[in-house]
Symmetry: C2
Subunit: 255 residues, 2 copies
DNA sequence: GTGTTGAGTTTGATTGATCAAATGAAATCG
DNA sequence: CGATTTCATTTGATCAATCAAACTCAACAC
């Protein structure tokens, strides 16, 4: 149906629509926000003219609603497709890390390619093999066929006060460098951490992941970690992060 | 480097160069044969003009040697790339069948897409997970980094005489229908068979796979099975068909 | 209100892969 | 040998995705 380029625009559009603008803006989060042409061309890495052309094409295909000189927003059909791409991406990413033992810092880029060529059959097989997981290695929720699961009540590490004990549930930066840094310091999803100390003057905090040495991180970096504190921890039903790593099922002899 | 279209041309070209023209032509098999433009456009499913254009491009890129109105043949560089594509294809195919339990009749088509987006890193991981196998689910040899393994001394089922006992080592038709037929009748790689009877008048033979009912197959169909008989069976060193299906290795905790 | 600026849109060109139709070369047949 | 058939090449067009550069708004400045 949609070309892989269109799939990429759809995915990016969904992510932009649901991006948190300012930490705690609060305004209408779960309904998709309008996205400006500038944002889209910026994050797709193409010139503005290209974006205009592509967005028009998507509008013609019924995947987006486009208001010239104002912005763009996915239609229901567009969102459905976008979520399907995102589902493929995140399942593949988890698969690469869990089954093929690919470094999670590389998995994102690998999945970027694979997400466009995975058939429904293969996707289903991967989902089954992983035990129908609900989050990828970074803690990002995996959309089901039905849609994106509701945002779990997690808070931002940058907004916590000293002494807080929490568990990392999600990491909001997929870049290779950042993930490498995060893993090396024990700042991975499901890790228990304590906020040892805050130094507002320096704009930094000292975080102590259990079993690792304390790390000093800037508030900007801290803002990339979503955590679940004692108080919010009751509602962990919807978000059991990653499938137990019992990878297997003897493949049935045929079929 | 090479676009996925070029990769497909390279792969196809290699297969055509090494295809057995007539059963038992005998002439220069292991060095690649010349391929006519007609054969290539036919098997790529494109018009002749397209083939001319693409072959010229490949020649310019140093991947093929092209003699107008005569034919085309891979250069060393082209062959190397072609074998790399083939390696990806066959490893992925085996992976789909062994690990993801995808029906082998569908695996070929799935692999057709995946072969172009598998990175070296992922390929290595798959190879390791499968235990460095030397043949795919159809018994087709998997090229190593070094090149295509030598052709094992297998014979063609269509040329055997009645009473012969043998083991199927390779199936030369990847079409969904054929593979479905083959599996349903127990005619799979590593299956032991006996040639019960031959009826040259009808151009057919009765084959008896161990543990299955005897099947009557036309000689044309029989020609699609490569077998190893008692006599040729000594040299099975180079061709242990498929990895044991001990699919696993507990993935290491991180990375 | 005329000018400047910044964001967005148009236009024209390019690239890779393809086709359809016209043309050309080679081989075979009578 | 000349005619016909087969196979291959050229040519011109198309489609998707892109860029660079020119153009157009709308808003704000003074």
């Amino acid at each position: 149906m949609a070309s892989r380029t269109i799939e990429n625009y759809l995915k990016q559009l969904w992510l932009l629509e649901h991006a948190v603008r300012k930490p705690t803006s609060g305004a209408g989060r779960s309904t998709g926000n309008f996205v400006t042409m500038g944002q889209l061309s910026e994050s797709m890495g193409v010139t503005p003219g290209t974006t205009t052309t592509m967005v028009k094409a998507m509008a013609d295909a019924g995947l987006a609603r486009y208001t010239p000189r104002a912005g763009v927003r996915l239609t229901r059909a567009g969102e459905k497709l976008a979520l399907h791409v995102l589902r493929r991406h995140r399942l593949v990413e988890l698969f690469l890390v869990e089954i093929l033992a690919i470094d999670w810092a590389h998995a994102h880029e690998e999945a970027e390619e694979l997400e466009h060529v995975i058939s429904d059959t293969v996707l289903l097989a991967i989902d089954r093999l992983l035990g129908h997981p609900s989050a990828d290695p970074h803690g990002d929720p995996i959309p089901s066929e039905a849609g994106m699961p509701e945002i779990q009540n997690a808070s931002n590490l940058a907004e916590m006060k000293g002494g807080t004990e929490a568990v990392i549930v999600r990491i909001m930066d997929q870049s290779r460098e950042f993930l490498t840094f995060a893993r090396q310091n024990g700042l991975v999803p499901r890790a228990a951490i304590t906020i040892a100390h805050i130094n507002p003057g320096a704009g930094a905090m000292l975080v102590h992941p259990r079993g690792h040495s304390p790390v000093s991180v800037s508030l900007a970096v801290a803002a990339k970690f979503m955590i679940s504190t004692k108080s919010t921890e009751e509602s962990k039903t919807a978000h059991r992060p990653v499938a137990k790593r019992r990878a297997h099922r003897k493949p049935s002899p045929d079929a």
